[in-house]
Chain length 366, copies 2
């Protein structure tokens, strides 16, 4: 079609020649600059489609010194939450016209974090989103002090950096409050690893809800997110657990716990109620189907990008801004019921409501 067409992809100058304008006008059309006449714009657009021209992003990056790519730093992609968060990030970033480059960390060491940051820095990313932020990771990040904006998909709402957060604590309280409403008074917890913000937040939520209801904390067992650790916790709980209900910090550990309880054997929920966290798709098919807390991780990812974009524009404005946290929800299934062995006590308490159960929602029977 066009004049001097070699076999190389067309560049801006080719378009300019075909459209009968200067290459700068072509640039202006592409970048939606205001001062371009309708006629010129039309000609340029025609030439672009005729030649199948595509702007060379790399050249643009060199000229503008902006790479249009954001880096995502993650460690545990095979976990449900992070994987979903990444999905949300990718989608939002691509919609915003950015490229998404990823780096995964096998282990969180200073060296590995530094290496990954190096990688991103080489690439000239314009921002970094940290999914799965260990405190260790954030600390390493602070020490390295990357020159680009860093946003963390975190639950540490006290952190001074920019980020998007899901209110993990509120989710945990939801779970525990549900158990309290059912009449449980001995509510234990299987936590995630204590070097994860999420795990700490969920544990604190458990504690808070208990304190509000003037209930003593039940048995606390430390897990590591893995089903195996939930299983081990279940075995440790033994045949006569010191609790009538367990709030478990993620669904995988809850799965392990369920298996251990079956093996004791203990009936669920009659002998022990269980609430998980995350609501991964499989949770509905555990045996019995797991009552759990649902989090919108994709939304979290989206918010990370939103926060990042904003930080690019507000350029040094107050960087402590947090997006509205994502709201967790309780998903009721079949692993919770009123406590059996304490039924008597429960009924007795209900008729003249125990004074310590102050919030009305908590003392009601449903």
């Amino acid at each position: 079609m066009a004049g001097t067409e070699f076999n190389r992809p067309p560049v801006m100058k080719d378009v300019a020649r075909v459209a009968g304008v200067s290459h700068q006008t072509v640039s202006r059309v592409i970048n939606d600059h205001p001062n371009v006449s309708a006629k010129a714009r039309q000609q340029v657009e025609a030439a672009i489609t005729e030649l199948g021209y595509r702007r060379n992003v790399i050249a643009r990056s060199l000229a503008t010194r902006r790479s249009q790519t954001i880096g995502v730093l993650t460690s545990d992609l095979s976990q449900f939450g992070p994987a979903r968060t990444l999905l949300g990030i990718e989608r939002a970033a691509r919609e915003a016209g950015h490229f998404v480059s990823i780096a995964t960390l096998r282990e969180i060491t200073f060296a590995s974090v530094a290496h990954a940051l190096d990688h991103f820095w080489n690439q000239g990313v314009e921002g970094i989103v940290v999914v799965v932020p260990h405190p260790g990771l954030l600390e390493a990040l602070d020490r390295i002090a990357p020159r680009v904006a860093v946003v963390a998909a975190t639950s540490d709402t006290r952190r001074s950096s920019l980020g998007a957060a899901v209110d993990q604590r509120a989710g945990a309280r939801l779970a525990v409050q549900h158990l309290i409403e059912l009449g449980h008074t001995r509510i234990g917890h299987i936590s995630g690893p204590m070097d994860w913000f999420d795990a700490v937040e969920r544990l604190e939520g458990w504690l808070e809800a208990l304190t509000e209801a003037s209930l003593p904390p039940g048995p606390l067992l430390y897990g590591d997110w893995s089903a195996n650790s939930g299983y081990a916790a279940g075995l440790a709980l033994g045949r006569e657990p010191a609790a009538t209900a367990m709030f478990v910090s993620n669904d995988q550990m809850a799965l392990g716990l369920l298996r251990a309880l079956h093996e004791q054997p203990l009936r669920i929920p009659q002998d022990l109620s269980v609430v998980g966290y995350d609501d991964q798709p499989e949770a509905a098919y555990f045996y019995p189907p797991l009552t759990t807390i649902r989090l919108d991780f994709e939304e979290l990812g989206r918010q990370c990008i939103a926060a990042l974009m904003e930080s690019q524009h507000l350029e040094g404005a107050d960087s402590k801004r947090f997006v509205e946290p994502v709201e967790p929800r309780l998903i009721l299934r079949a692993t919770t019921a009123q406590p059996r062995r304490e039924e008597g006590r429960w009924r007795r308490r209900l008729s003249p409501p125990g004074p310590q159960l102050q919030p009305p929602a908590l003392s009601a029977n449903r």
Copy 2:
């Protein structure tokens, strides 16, 4: 430290000035060109560390017309296999000095694939790895005919393009052969969606093993990878299934099946043996722990990168090359046992071994 240092990051010319050489010599040092004197190299290296110089990858890309980034096209990151594969890809690519850009597909439509390819093409990726290749996706890919090398992490060993494969069929046969060795003669299958290569391969492996053992295929139910579809299949199977064993195309569906069986109630493995596929970490904590097929997805990812790298160098050589497929393994746990209801028949058959059970491994009692 250095002379005229503004606040901008140092560039090659700065290094050259400090080292007392030309910028081209600096370039040669960085790129490990042979003809550089030891002295010059040393000076340049000293200057680089002194200034904290980092090569601008974007400028390099513009000059060399190579972006050093590879695109990963994926759809279902929350599935175990794809997530793990991505992990392997990322690691291998980064080790090979490449950047990894991702694009995720919500739905497999021609438009969405075209859009993602556009995205990569804009970015100037040097290769694309397709994780989770639907036939539909590959077809769209073929029609668009991207100008870059495409490698697929696929199990379609007949496909004409380059790729790395895991021998899904062999895994399926492993599963079925195990059941046959236990004495099962009525072995059913719950498949994945038929527009996934993996699902088709596994189904065919099931059929092959059965045929080899001269056994008729048991009930075949079509699922969609989700636990829910496995559950539905379990309900469809009913209280008196027409099989004594089921080979399930992934662990999630097996989980759903397990729940359905518990609810019938049917005992596992006494009433029905179950074998899954993938060996995701949770499988060991299903109730009962799931016998399944383990695949090394990370290795698959690594091989994709290896295949891609090779295709870059062999440049148009025979592109049908396939890397050695990843070997699947049978992981024995607690969901398989000898068939109970057919025990009599089984024993009878064993004493004078049925002529149709030809391969010795299949007719033996273990």
